[in-house]
Structures are given as structure tokens and as C-alpha cells.
Symmetry: C2
Subunit: 188 residues, 2 copies
């Protein structure tokens, strides 16, 4: 799993990849427990072996906003906190039981100081995260709720199948009431 993930960057030799696991520690997280909580400084990043995560933050008025979901074979971190060394607003909660492979930021920095490919790796991750977020932003800016929902159905069927509708509504930036309305419309 994680070996395949690293191969996909074409940065590391077969030998290096075989030795990668040594840098990571396995961790289990129970359903509803957190990998990161609001206010913390996120100093590690994880590879998800199994399980589902939701990232959400709570705004002043108490509204719960879903930032994103993370699936098996995805990376998991409060990425902005990880790169900026500042406290996060995100809560990364397991919505099913999960197993992770965790690595500390300082370990990555140590590896980067010895092998510039780790520095390239960090750059590629940052760029990927940017591209993904930009898509999400455009989606939110240009489409109304019904369009965003149908886009989700067509492009991320995983989401519909595996994630409770209350979370999907919040991910789409609408209330559950309105999502129900849209679902009813579309089913005709």
C-alpha cells in the first residue's frame, strides 16, 4: 500500500521504498476519536491504511463546517498547520475505526537534509494539495448547491456511499434540510 504510494512519485529507488516502513509508526484510532484537534499544532502526517476521516472546523456562531474527507491510501494531516507550524482550526475525526502509518515532520526534515528527493517530495505534496483545493474552491464559487451535489454523485461515488448525509451536506456548504430537497428533486 504505502510502497505503491511512494512509487507513484518516481523519486525513490526500489531499495529506498523497501526501507520506508521503518520511518513510520503504526497507530490505531477508534471510531469518533481524533487524529488532530482544534488548537493543536500538527507535527505529524499519516498514511491511512484503513478507515475514514472527516476534517471539520467550528465557526464563531457554532456552525460545524466540513473541510474534507480522507480515505484509505490518502495522507492525513491538518496540512496548513503542518506546513506553517501554527495551531489548527481543524478537527480530524475518524468516522470509522482506522489504522494509520504516522511520521513526524522533523523526521521528514531530517530525511530531506540527507536526500534532496525528500525535499522534492514535499514540494509535490504541497502542489497536489493546492490543485485539489483549487478544484474545490472553483466548485463552491461557481456552482449552486444542486450542481455541486450532482457533481459529487458523478465524480466521487465513494462519498455518497460511505459518508452520512449530514456530513455531506456540510461538505457541500448547505444544511441537511436543503440537501434532502435537492435529493428529492433529482430522483425524478
Amino acid at each position: 500500500m504505502i510502497q505503491q504510494f511512494f512509487q507513484s512519485f518516481y523519486l525513490f529507488s526500489k531499495n529506498e521504498i523497501d526501507n520506508l516502513l521503518a520511518f513510520f509508526k503504526e497507530r490505531t484510532i477508534a471510531k469518533n476519536d481524533f487524529f488532530v484537534k482544534e488548537g493543536e499544532n500538527c507535527k505529524e502526517i499519516a498514511f491511512i491504511q484503513s478507515g475514514l476521516f472527516r476534517s471539520y472546523y467550528v465557526s464563531e456562531e457554532g456552525k460545524d463546517n466540513t473541510y474534507c474527507f480522507r480515505f484509505p491510501n490518502d495522507l492525513l494531516a491538518s496540512y496548513s498547520s503542518f506546513i506553517s507550524n501554527k495551531p489548527t482550526v481543524e478537527n480530524l475525526q475518524a468516522i470509522t475505526e482506522a489504522t494509520l502509518l504516522v511520521i513526524k515532520k522533523e523526521k521528514i526534515q531530517e530525511l530531506a537534509s540527507k536526500n534532496p528527493n525528500w525535499s522534492e517530495f514535499s514540494r509535490m505534496i504541497a502542489e497536489q494539495e493546492y490543485l485539489e483545493l483549487e478544484k474545490r474552491f472553483f466548485q463552491l464559487q461557481q456552482n449552486d448547491a444542486a450542481q455541486r451535489y450532482t457533481f459529487l454523485i458523478e465524480n466521487q461515488p465513494d462519498y455518497i456511499q460511505k459518508i452520512p448525509l449530514q456530513y455531506l451536506a456540510s461538505y457541500l456548504g448547505i444544511t441537511q434540510r436543503h440537501l434532502s430537497r435537492i435529493r428529492k428533486e433529482i430522483s425524478f
Copy 2:
């Protein structure tokens, strides 16, 4: 100007920074002309010496969405196209006459192959762009139009002073009609 910009990354020696200008070409852009147009592959990035830019993209129904603005001493590129080598949806238009210092992507790659600090530099740019976009995303997701506008007034007074309201409305994700309504409300 550009020297100060590079100094702020703490990656390059005074000597290196003094020689930087040689890598860039100066370019002038007339008001309403484009640095990048939709459909192009953005293969260069620019440092803005003077002038103001707006990035916008047009959605299927013909709606014009403002992605962002760029000011003097900012970098200018369709960043997602620049890093992914894919055609962009963005139009980068000068809203005043402008002068740029332009560098090609391949030049940066050439520099990075010789000096790993250029690779670090690219990583830091990617991370900065991510952080900025995340703020923008949170803003759009959690606040209504009036909150977004008052945030803008308080945190980016430049925007209000220098950018036509029609563009600001589109940046905020609303119509000019609604922005007028908000402005009227607030002035009491």
C-alpha cells in the same frame, strides 16, 4: 523590490540575490491586456513591479468568476497550470498598466538542478499559495456575503480602494446588486 522578495525566504546569499535580475526579463502590459488567457499552458511566472491584475474564469453559463487579485510585489501566474503543465481556465488581465519581471519555468528547473535551494524555494511558494487559498476557502464556506465584505474592508483595505466594485462583487461570490445592498446596510 524583487531583491527584497527573495531575501524574505532566507534561502539565497546576498551575492546570489544581486545576480538574480539576470534570470528575469522585463515586460510591459497595457491596461486590459492579458498575461495569461484561458486555454493556455502557463509556462512562466512573473514578479509584479507595478500594476494590478485580476484573475477570472468563465463558467458554462457565461458567469465571470473572479479568482483573485495581484498587486505590486506579488507573484503572477496561473499557478495550477504552472505546476501541473495543463491548460488553465484563468484569465490574468491587467486592470491598470503594468510592468513585470518574467521568468520561465524551465529556467527555474534548471536553477533547481544546480542549487537545491531553488527546489526549497518552489516548495515554499507552493505552501504559501496553499495557505492563502485555504483562508479564502474557509471565508467562502463559513461566512455570508455581508461578513465576507466587512472582513475585506477590515483586512484588505487596498482592495476597496483600488478595485472597481463590479470586480469586488464577483470576488466575493455575489452580484453587484447584492454588494450595493450590503454597502448600504453597513453605512448605517
